[in-house]
Each structure stands twice: as structure tokens, then as C-alpha cells.
Symmetry: C2
Subunit: 425 residues, 2 copies
């Protein structure tokens, strides 16, 4: 029954039952870390055969006859550019293949524009004192940390079922030239799991920014990461931008961190010719080239994009039951009380839940005291400040199914306790 319909007495009775449950959990001395979207060991094992594919010297030679052990090839071997182009939804010639971290490429992109104009005639962002960045919320803490590091004022934009609130984005971007960009995870968004609608993508492509150096940081991290048998589809932002002559707007990123190994994947970015020219001027000064042997490992292991897609079926088989546990536990323990709303993603790494307003921090604290470490409350907001203190990101991938069931029971108990305590004052 909805908590809003219970009397104070009924609530207090429920509270005392829940507290007894919680005490039981604490006595189990649990130690579960669900703080990050970290693949589990079972997931890592499915890619381990990739470690041994470079088993003779001649396999270190690329199709073009280039010895990948040696120096050279700033933007990645051509076959790797082709492979990554499918993840980025851009043309192979628009791809730059980097090291093991797309976050690093995003950081370097912002860093580049801090000291170098991002467009002809523009000012380096370091010189724009009131520089601002749009941050769809809830969103990804590591994105926000980059713009925080570089001193941007961050403007939260609410997420809807179809992506960021585009009315607000259009209004802000077209009116304020100090707004230099926006962070996006367009498919299976971190943490809500929603995918931007075709209309949202087209509205992004058609933006008319007041700043000529406004850029869309399009982190397509979960482009092939279904956790359901129905997968979402996402329009190519680059293609939509090209159609309307806005090719310099987007900078697109992805990686195989959650395809092969989080610690040793291959990252890549896609950009227009103009943007690439500016970024390559930096990269050519910064490095001779990223690890081409690791690119080759991926190429030999996957052969082509179809290989990646069929590999992702194995991840789905491991992840789907974990997502099901989370959603089922929520339904079982949180539906009746009507104190929380959550998403049911078809892909990605997270479930986003809004608990009773003003209780998220307490829920995370109580869970921690019972040995269940969650992503910090507020992490999904710029500077870690969730104004309503209600959003929590659940990362189901790392624990075992049984651990996850237990963790979700602890979590749901804490959500209900905190809600009642708030309700009864």
C-alpha cells in the first residue's frame, strides 16, 4: 500500500519491521562493491582468448604491411579506424584511434580547446572567464569532473525519456555564447539507460549555437551494449549534422572498454575535417601513436563489426539476469509503497532510481554501513550536488547474482526506512 495513504502509526509499525530486517543484514557483515560500472570476472574471461592472438611475429604486421611493434601511424591502423567507425557511426576517415581510454580522449579534446581556438576566429576557452557547459542530469560523474577541472560553470539540463530537455538546450545554446558544449551519452545513457530519440538527435544536429565554438561531446560508450532482447537504435549524429551543414558540431567517442577489457581496450573518436585538423595538431605533438599491437589484437579477435556484435551477446547473457534482479527486487519491495521511480533500461550499465526526495544520501550511507557500497548520492549531478537528493545510480554488473539479490534487498530496505523517517518527520 502506498506510504502516502498509511497513518503515522502504520508507518511506524512498518519502520520497526524494516529496522529489524536491516539489523539482520548488518549482522551478515556483507562486503559488496557496486560503486562503479565495472564488468565482472565472468565478463572479462570471455575476452581472454584475445590476449594470445598475436602468437607469431608475422601477425604483428598490418594489412598495409606496417610493423605494428614499431613507431608510427598517429591516428591508428586503417583497419582499426574502419572497425571503430561502426561504433562511432562516422566514416572511417573521420576516425582517430587512441589508447585504452575514451575518457582520456574527451579530456584531451577539452584540454585542447582550453588553450587553442576550437574554431577559426574563436578564443581559447581558458580566456573565456564565464565559460559554461551543459550537463544533462542525472549524468556521468567523470564527464562533469572534466569540465569542473577546467573551471566551467556547469548548467544542469533535465533528462527526459527522449534525451535532454531539447527546448531548454536550444534556448540556452542559441542565446549564450559562453556556453561551449554539452555532455551526452546518447545510447543507454549513464545512468538512466534511455536512448535519445530520432527527434532529439535531429534537434542536436540542427542547433544554432551563439558560440561558433560550441561542441557536442557525444560519448557513445554503450553503442553495442544491450541487456535486453529488444535493443534501442540511435541515429548517427554525424550524419544528421552533415545533412544540415553542421559537421563541426559533434565530437563522437567510444571504446571497447566494456567490450573486451576495461583496463586494456581500444578507444576512438570521430570528428569533422576541421575539428580533426585542430586536434591532430595537438596529437602529433603529444605522441607518435597509440598502442597498435592492441588494435591488432582486437582486429584479429573480432575480424569485423559483426564479430563485436556477436561477442556482445555473451556480455548480454551475463548482464541481463543481473538487470532482471535489480528491476524485480525494486518491483517486489518498492512498488507498493510508491516512494520511488526507476528506469528499466534495454542496455548500458546502470539502473537509475529516484528514491524519496531528501533521502538519497541517507540511503547510500545506510547501505554502506550494512556493507553495500553504492555510487555516492549526488554523483550523477555536477559538483556532486543533487538538489532534490533523490537520484541513485545502481551498477549491477560486478556482483554475483546472489550477492546482487542480497544487496538489492538491503537497498530496498534502506530506501523504505529513509522514506518513512522522512514522512513521519
Amino acid at each position: 500500500m502506498s506510504y502516502s495513504e498509511l497513518t503515522k502509526e502504520q508507518l511506524l509499525q512498518e519502520l520497526s519491521q524494516l529496522k529489524a530486517q536491516y539489523k539482520g543484514f548488518v549482522e551478515k557483515n556483507l562486503s559488496l562493491d557496486m560503486s562503479r560500472g565495472k564488468p565482472c570476472t565472468e565478463q572479462l574471461d570471455i575476452s581472454s582468448p584475445m590476449l594470445n592472438v598475436l602468437c607469431s611475429d608475422d601477425l604483428c604486421i598490418s594489412e598495409q604491411g606496417f610493423d605494428c611493434r614499431n613507431y608510427g601511424i598517429l591516428d591508428g591502423i586503417p583497419a582499426a579506424k574502419e572497425l571503430m567507425s561502426h561504433m562511432l557511426q562516422v566514416k572511417p576517415e573521420q576516425v582517430f584511434v587512441g589508447g585504452n581510454s575514451s575518457l582520456n580522449m574527451m579530456f584531451d579534446t577539452i584540454a585542447c580547446f582550453m588553450t587553442t581556438p576550437a574554431a577559426e576566429g574563436a578564443t581559447p576557452w581558458f580566456c573565456v572567464e564565464d565559460r559554461k557547459f551543459l550537463c544533462p542530469v542525472p549524468g556521468y560523474d567523470r564527464h562533469f569532473a572534466i569540465t569542473e577541472y577546467f573551471g566551467f560553470q556547469m548548467i544542469p539540463v533535465p533528462m527526459t525519456e527522449a534525451g535532454p530537455d531539447m527546448d531548454m538546450v536550444e534556448k540556452l545554446v542559441s542565446s549564450d555564447p559562453s556556453i561551449k558544449g554539452i555532455w551526452c551519452v546518447p545510447k543507454y545513457a549513464n545512468p538512466t539507460g534511455i536512448t535519445y530519440s530520432d527527434e532529439t538527435v535531429r534537434r542536436f544536429a540542427n542547433l544554432k549555437p551563439a558560440a561558433k565554438d560550441f561542441r557536442i561531446m557525444w560519448d557513445n560508450a554503450y553503442c553495442v551494449h544491450d541487456v535486453s532482447d529488444e535493443s534501442d537504435s540511435l541515429l548517427s549524429l554525424m550524419e544528421e549534422c552533415e545533412k544540415v551543414g553542421n559537421a563541426d558540431l559533434p565530437l563522437v567517442f567510444s571504446s571497447t572498454s566494456k567490450v573486451t577489457f576495461p583496463g586494456a581496450g581500444v578507444a576512438a573518436m570521430g570528428a569533422s575535417e576541421n575539428n580533426m585538423k585542430i586536434l591532430k595538431k595537438r596529437y602529433t605533438t603529444q605522441t607518435i601513436g597509440s598502442d597498435k599491437l592492441n588494435m591488432l589484437r582486437h582486429l584479429i579477435f573480432f575480424k569485423n563489426f559483426e564479430g563485436i556484435k556477436s561477442h556482445m551477446q555473451k556480455h548480454k547473457a551475463i548482464l541481463k539476469p543481473r538487470f532482471d534482479v535489480v528491476i524485480n527486487k525494486f518491483r517486489e519491495h518498492l512498488s507498493a509503497s510508491e516512494i520511488a521511480q526507476w528506469t528499466t533500461p534495454r542496455g548500458g550499465y546502470f539502473v537509475s532510481i529516484d528514491v524519496f526526495p531528501g533521502t538519497a544520501k541517507n540511503v547510500v550511507k545506510m547501505c554502506k554501513e550494512a556493507g553495500v557500497v553504492l555510487t555516492g548520492a549526488g554523483a550523477t549531478y555536477p559538483l556532486g550536488v543533487d538538489p532534490e537528493d533523490k537520484n541513485i545510480r545502481i551498477a549491477p554488473s560486478y556482483p554475483s547474482i546472489n550477492e546482487l539479490k542480497l544487496a538489492m534487498e538491503v537497498f530496498c530496505t534502506c530506501v523504505r526506512i529513509c522514506a518513512i523517517e522522512k514522512l513521519v518527520g
Copy 2:
């Protein structure tokens, strides 16, 4: 006989013989690339067994029980920090292990200080309009390219047999607060091959810079790279700095690019606690961590620093005969004429030669026309401008012995032709 003692007639006669020789070379249609310090295939092959050491899942677990396939460990696995500490001549806890490129770590260090104060109370270098950097010459073009990219005025400092001219360094650094750093390759310097003397290292450690954020960029790229049976030894700059309370002065870099694979080695830096705090604030925003599987590969392959040193004996066996060819050809073809001076390094990747002043560009051009591509003349100077147009960097590692013999004959012929043409006006 010295060209300075020949009559004009004798010189012209010599010239006509040399031109006939040159014509013979051109007709061979050579195609030799000696432009970069690139290891040869034979050298790459000696490290190939490293590619297959991660042959089972359990080997991906570090000594501390950490699964190196997954996310985590920003500054590198502890055993990798220990291994690299010997190359950097710093304590393991002062090490940060990066990706495959120490150049990238140097770039990121300068980039960090461009937008963040390098010392408490200092100004980000981007705001220092007349920012300057000292560049020992001849030196490494990729170093100079970094400070050029970030808009530093570069002040050349002549190299001596013992390192940079320290009288000049001390005078400049103590008097001008806009001088923010100096580039150094302290052992087997690029390109002269000399190693800084103990006195030079101590004078560096005892610098009293006018700028509190002056930093020594100490690129110990060739720390274990002997090409002779007598090896040079280098004092630890960090230790010398610590002795005199100057631990924040140096930033030390090295990598296994020329130990294992140029394209897939492991890079690392060493820094004081203060410096590391500033840099880690950046790195923690930039990445979750570099490729730990590649660190593990190196650890399993080498076991310890002794393993690296004995591995380097194999490189020496391949490189020493190549360096001998260069020096012997110089002696054979250039000694008598007394028109050039060169170094005879005991390690590193280069031989530096000063040809007849005003002819270096022509020599490189003539060589190219005969199919022998050298490092561009001037490359060893900031902005590519060698004021006397005389220094050329020879990179003997990549060609075969026979190719190298031929290339050096072409080169010596060109050096003599250009000198005579200059002499006879």
C-alpha cells in the same frame, strides 16, 4: 689532406671525382630511411616472446590480487612502479606509470602547468605572456615541438661534452622568472650521445631559479641503452635534488619504447610529492588508468631490472656494429678533409655530426635526391633553425649493415661536395 690547404684547382678536381661518385649512387635508385631513431626488425624480434606471456587468465592477476584486465589503479601496478623506478632513478613511490609514450607524459605535464599553477602561488603558464623554455642544442625536435605548441619562446643553450653550458643555464634561470623550464636528455643525449657529468647533474640540482615554478624536464630515454662495452653512468637527479631540498625541480621520464616495442612499450614518470599531487589531480580526471596488462607483460617477461639490463645486451649486439659503421665511414671519408666534427657515443640512438657550416640543408637535400632520407637539417634546433646550418643527426638503427654502409658513403660524398662548393664559392 685538409681541404683548407688545397688550392682551388685541387678542390675542383676533387669535386669532379666526388660528383662522378654521387652520380653512381643516384643511379642505384636507393630507398633508405634513416630519418628517425627507429629500432630495426631484428631488435623488435628479440622482444616478441613478451607478446605471449599472458597465456592464462590467472596470469592477469597482479601480485596484490588485482585483476589487471579491469578498471583501476591510476598510477600503475606496484611492481611496475618498482621496475620503472630503476630506469627513472627515483623511489618506487615517486613513480607514475603511464601508457605507451613518455612523450605523451611530458606533453601532459606541460599541458597541466599551462592551465594549473605548477607551484603554490604560481601563475598558470598560459597567463605568462613571455613564457620561455631553455633548449640545449643540438637537441630533440619532439621536445622543442611541445614548447613550440604551447607558445614558449625557446632559448637555445649550447651543449658541451659534459652537458648543457651550465654557466649560461645558471645565469638565465636565476635572473629571469619567465623561464619556466629546460629540456634535458641526460644520458646518451639526443643527438650528441654525451652523458651529463656528475658536476652538471649537481649544478642542476642546486639551481636557484627566479621562477618558483621552474621545472627540469629530465628525459632519461636512454638510461640502459649502451652501444659500447664501456657504459656511461649518470647521477640520479632526484637524489641530488633531495639532498639540497630542491625535490620539486625535476620531472623525470623514461619508457621501454626502445627496450621492448616503440609502439607498445610502457612509459613512466618520477616526481616529488608536491608535483605528483598537482599532476595526479589532472590524471585522475583524465583517465581511470593506463594499460595494466601491458605492464604485466613487461613484468613477467623481465622479472626485474636485471632482466631489462641483460635484455639490453641483445640490443647492443645489434646496434654496436651499426654505430661502428657510421664512425668508421666518417673516419675513412671525412677525417682527412677536416671539414666535419662528430661524436662517438657509447650509447643512445644517434651520432651527431657538424658538417661544413652553411651546408647541412644542402647535404640532406642531396642525400634525399640519392634516395637516402636523413633527419631534416635544423631539426635539432628549436623551430628547426640551426643558425650555422651545420648539424645533422644520424640514426643508424633501422637500416641493415649493408644499407648503412652505402648510406654513409652517399652521405660522406655529399658532405664533401657541399663543403667544396662552399669553399670555392
